[in-house]
């Protein structure tokens, strides 16, 4: 396990603010029980991560945002395993923003991302549970006047050597008086909870409409705002006539703010109607003419020139120059929107000396600091409540805090509680996208048909430049997130050179589920497949050979291939493709089976997925995240593209930016490869392999090789005509 043990111990030190109930009172519940009820039954707070009530209830305070990935269940499981409590009595609560809840590995901010929640919290939460268990055991031993070492904890009870039992609820008063163990010992033996499929704790609230998302926040006197934004990035307001909007019933204010013009009304519909009546002229600034077509040309030209070197083994350029036969493959991947089902929104109640922000954020510390800078309040004066997130995928971890800042700015003009909501079109057009990528690969084979040289140039915007993460994540000009998955490929390639160009333009870009891997996996696994065919090898065995020395990769690959029936004949109308990719500490292989209809549309019929994500917390969550990543990746592979014309985003809603629907969803089988390695992430790593697996299956079916995403019917038809 990674992690800073000293830091962990420091965080165990009781602070009076946390123990006195200040934390409990300061924190709103995501749903259900009132704060007063919660406070009344909570007593024993050995550390920042759990509370045990006199009724034996265990509340785990979760410092990660729940956006579907299951942290409100998997993180409580880590505590409960060591606490030896009754799982039926465990509930969760979103943590406030405080240093105790900062990311255990990423530095002094509270953030959910990088598929890191279980990885970063495993040690800290296990120790938190163990410390509480030791205190409860000691409390019972004192009551019985026996040696604590002779007692054991089980299912919410401490059991004496003679078999007497005391429930945790009966022990909390005494336990609360004890010192917190500074070096609690973890249990030995087989886990009771970890590794078993465990029902999500948040499901009942979600299917009954009780789960509170940011967009659901209400408050007395609250107004709702929508913002008219410039049609191009960096545009500025020139003239505004809001007379008609102001005349509309329910419209309370029309305000010029940094993001554009805010229409504030009693409800969303009135605000939206008011916005339609604004007469605005914009200065389109310097990005008013950008177009995808021009950017493609610029990127392609850049890819013909040397970039900064991200990885160099041997001398790929020289080997390729001398080699008579080589493949040159050009890959285009578009900008992509996160398109969370819940459009971005933020509630702000700004008072003179305080501020309450309620929203679904993945990066609370940075959002709160942004609000502090705008309002002049200290960060501690701003209470930041994390609601449920109706999808995140990186969009709600925006270092620029765009959706929080705009709401704070509206609130500053109002001094009245306000919720800013983006319409679907706002959400899709106001930016932050997965960057557009252009890749150029030249490669050649040795006389046995295996890769001899691979020269790879990657062109695309850096998502890190200009953020607080720049100094940590950009080294010698290389944004690691641009080249991850390529520069660190595990394949045995004796002459390998990976170069990077990071052009700048006005398009706001951000991490998007699986980040750099979302483009590099497509390129790496497509080229590998081409080379296998060119070298006369089976694409599965080819990969396995090139992954010699990586037994985990080989096992995952083999599992996927075997479960998919690799090598068994398929009907003539169906093709099969394989891909493997490691990201966020986990290794995933997928086999896709596809068919084509007359229009050239690809239908993915079946996906077999094998995953090694190290030690397991909740296997059902792992399966669910693999299914989720595959569908998410498939939407991008088959449909997804944000394009620009005259500086304007050409998409706006789910008609122009389609997502996979029920009828197009493949049958998915997930196989977890048993592993005792450190835990890996599961939220993102399911995404990267699916696009190349589908492209490789299309090749297997039709001989057509698509190197441009999305794989739309017109591109498929063009490739078929060419082939």
């Amino acid at each position: 396990m990674t992690g800073d043990a000293n830091m962990t111990r420091r965080q165990f030190i009781k602070t009076s603010a946390l123990v006195s109930g200040g934390l409990v009172l300061a924190c709103h519940l995501p749903f259900g029980r009132s704060t007063a009820e919660a406070a009344a039954q909570e007593l024993f707070s050995p550390n920042a991560y759990l509370r045990i009530g006199r009724d034996g209830s265990v509340t785990v305070i979760v410092n990660k945002s729940e956006m579907g990935q299951g942290v409100y269940t998997s993180l409580p499981m880590l505590v409960a395993e060591e606490l030896c409590c009754n799982w039926q009595k465990v509930t969760f609560r979103a943590s406030p923003v405080a240093k105790e809840y900062n990311h255990a590995l990423f530095g002094p901010i509270m953030v959910t991302g990088g598929s890191s929640s279980v990885r970063s919290e495993w040690q800290r939460l296990s120790l938190a549970g163990a410390a509480a268990r030791e205190m409860l055991v000691t409390a019972a031993a004192q009551q019985w006047q026996v040696d604590p070492g002779s007692c054991r904890a089980e299912n919410g009870f401490v059991i004496s050597p003679g078999g007497a039992r005391l429930s945790y609820g009966k022990l909390v008063d005494r336990a609360a008086q004890l010192p917190v163990p500074q070096t609690p010992k973890l249990k030995s033996g087989k886990p009771k909870l970890l590794g078993r499929p465990t029902k999500r704790l948040d499901s009942p609230a979600k299917i009954n409409g009780r789960a509170l998302f940011g967009i659901d926040v209400q408050a007395p006197g609250m107004l709702t705002a929508v913002i008219a934004r410039p049609p191009v990035f960096g545009g500025k307001l020139i003239t505004l006539n809001a007379d008609k909007a102001r005349a509309l019933p329910g419209v309370r204010h029309v305000l010029s703010v940094e993001a554009g013009v805010a229409v504030v009304a009693d409800d969303y519909w009135q605000a939206l109607k008011g916005r339609e009546l604004l007469e605005i002229s914009w200065d389109e600034g310097k990005w008013g003419s950008i177009s995808t077509e021009t950017m493609h040309q610029e990127y392609a030209a850049l890819a013909r020139t040397p970039g900064l070197i991200a990885r160099q083994e041997g001398d790929a350029a020289t080997v390729l120059a001398k080699h008579p036969e080589k493949i040159t493959a050009l890959f285009e991947l578009p900008y992509l929107a996160h398109a969370t089902m819940e459009p971005l929104n933020c509630f702000v109640d700004l008072r003179k000396e305080s501020c309450l922000i309620r929203t679904g954020s993945q990066m609370q510390t940075i959002d709160r600091e942004a609000a502090a800078r705008l309002t002049g309040l200290k960060p501690e004066q701003i209470e930041f409540e994390t609601t449920f997130l109706g999808g995140g995928f990186g969009r709600r971890a925006c270092p620029a805090s765009d959706f929080v800042k705009e709401a704070v700015q509206v609130a500053m003009a109002l001094r009245q509680p306000v919720k800013v909501i983006r319409s679907r079109e706002d959400d899709m057009r106001a930016g932050y996208y997965r960057p557009m990528w252009y890749n150029r690969v030249e490669a050649c084979l040795d006389n046995k048909g295996y890769p001899l040289a691979w020269h790879h140039r990657i062109v695309g915007q850096s998502i890190i430049t200009g953020t607080p993460f720049e100094s940590a994540m950009i080294k010698e000009g290389i944004d690691h997130t641009s080249v991850e998955g390529a520069a660190d490929t595990p394949y045995r390639i004796p002459n390998l050179q990976v170069e990077l160009h990071s052009p700048a333009n006005g398009v706001p870009v951000l991490w998007w589920r699986s980040v750099g891997h979302s483009h590099t996996a497509f390129v790496m696994e497509s080229v590998l497949d081409e080379l296998a065919h060119q070298g006369g090898h089976d694409p599965y065995r080819y990969r396995r050979t090139l992954l010699a020395g990586h037994p985990r990769h080989q096992k995952v690959l083999q599992t996927a291939a075997e479960k998919a029936g690799w090598g068994k004949p398929l009907p003539a109308w169906r093709g099969r493709g394989i891909a493997i990719h490691e990201s966020f500490g986990s290794i995933i292989a997928q086999v896709a089976e596809v068919l084509l209809d007359k229009s050239g549309a690809i239908k993915v019929h079946r996906v077999v997925c094998a995953v090694d994500c190290g030690r397991i917390v909740n296997p059902d969550t792992i399966k669910a995240q693999m299914e989720s990543g595959i569908i998410f990746g498939l939407s991008a592979a088959l449909y997804g593209a944000i394009t620009f014309k005259n500086g304007r985003v050409e998409q706006g809603n789910f008609d122009s930016y389609p997502l996979i629907r029920m009828a197009a969803a493949p049958r998915i089988e997930v196989h977890i490869v048993a592993s005792n390695e450190d835990p890996g992430g599961v939220g993102e790593p399911g995404v990267p392999p699916i696009a190349p697996a589908v492209a490789n299956a299309l090749f297997n079916l039709s001989g057509a090789r698509l190197r441009s995403l999305p794989m739309t019917p017109d591109k498929v038809k063009a490739a078929l005509d060419k082939g």
């Binding site: 956006m67 579907g68 990935q69 299951g70 029902k199 999500r200 948040d202 499901s203 009942p204 609230a205 979600k206 299917i207 009954n208 409409g209 789960a211 509170l212 998302f213 967009i215 659901d216 209400q218 019933p249 009693d266 409800d267 969303y268 519909w269 398109a339 969370t340 089902m341 819940e342 459009p343 449920f388 109706g390 999808g391 995140g392 995928f393 909501i421 319409s423 679907r424 019929h605 079946r606 059902d620 669910a624 299914e627 989720s628 595959i630 569908i631 998410f632 498939l634 809603n653 789910f654 997502l659 996979i660 629907r661 029920m662 009828a663 969803a665 493949p666 049958r667 998915i668 089988e669």
Partner: protein, 156 residues
């Protein structure tokens, strides 16, 4: 002032008749289980039952449903077989689209108690799920209909 029959109660709201039912439910009646996803009837997050039929509340003017029986996610009993199946199959991830999915599934089963996969495709393809829970939704609908779940969702 308009009168609505929602989840068996008579509720009133001070809104124009062109206001979409979605915003009457969410902003005025504080029934926030019905979700906003697209505003164009494209995603199904706002699905409610109007006289038993699934409708997109985001494009339904409230004036059109004044005499109707409206059922939202909050009005479907917690022990309804669809909700129970959703829990048993662990369908929800972020959960935002699930109220709409559940309502669409309730409508499907009311109309067709033993749907096959093609029926499910037809009835559920108007409901988007960005988390990709489709396979589990399919299984849950089969389970709610009394059929044992086929592993992995759709049959080949």
């Amino acid at each position: 002032m308009i009168d609505l029959n929602v989840n068996g109660s008579r509720l009133q709201a001070e809104v124009g008749k062109d206001t979409p039912l979605l915003w009457v439910l969410r902003d005025h009646l504080k029934l926030t289980g019905t979700k906003f996803g697209c505003g164009e009837g494209l995603c199904g997050a706002c699905t409610v039952l109007i006289d038993g039929k699934p409708q997109r509340a985001c494009i339904t003017p409230v004036g059109d449903v004044l005499g109707a029986t409206i059922t939202t996610i909050e009005g479907i009993p917690e022990n309804h077989p669809v909700k129970q199946a959703w829990l048993a199959q662990e369908v929800s991830q972020c959960g935002y689209c699930q109220p709409g999915q559940v309502v669409s599934a309730v409508a499907l089963l009311a109309q067709k108690p033993k749907p096959n996969d093609a029926d499910i495709d037809r009835a559920m393809s108007g409901n988007l799920c960005r988390c990709g829970t489709y396979g589990r939704i399919r299984r849950a609908i089969h389970v709610a209909s009394g059929k044992p779940a086929a592993k992995g969702g759709k049959k080949s």
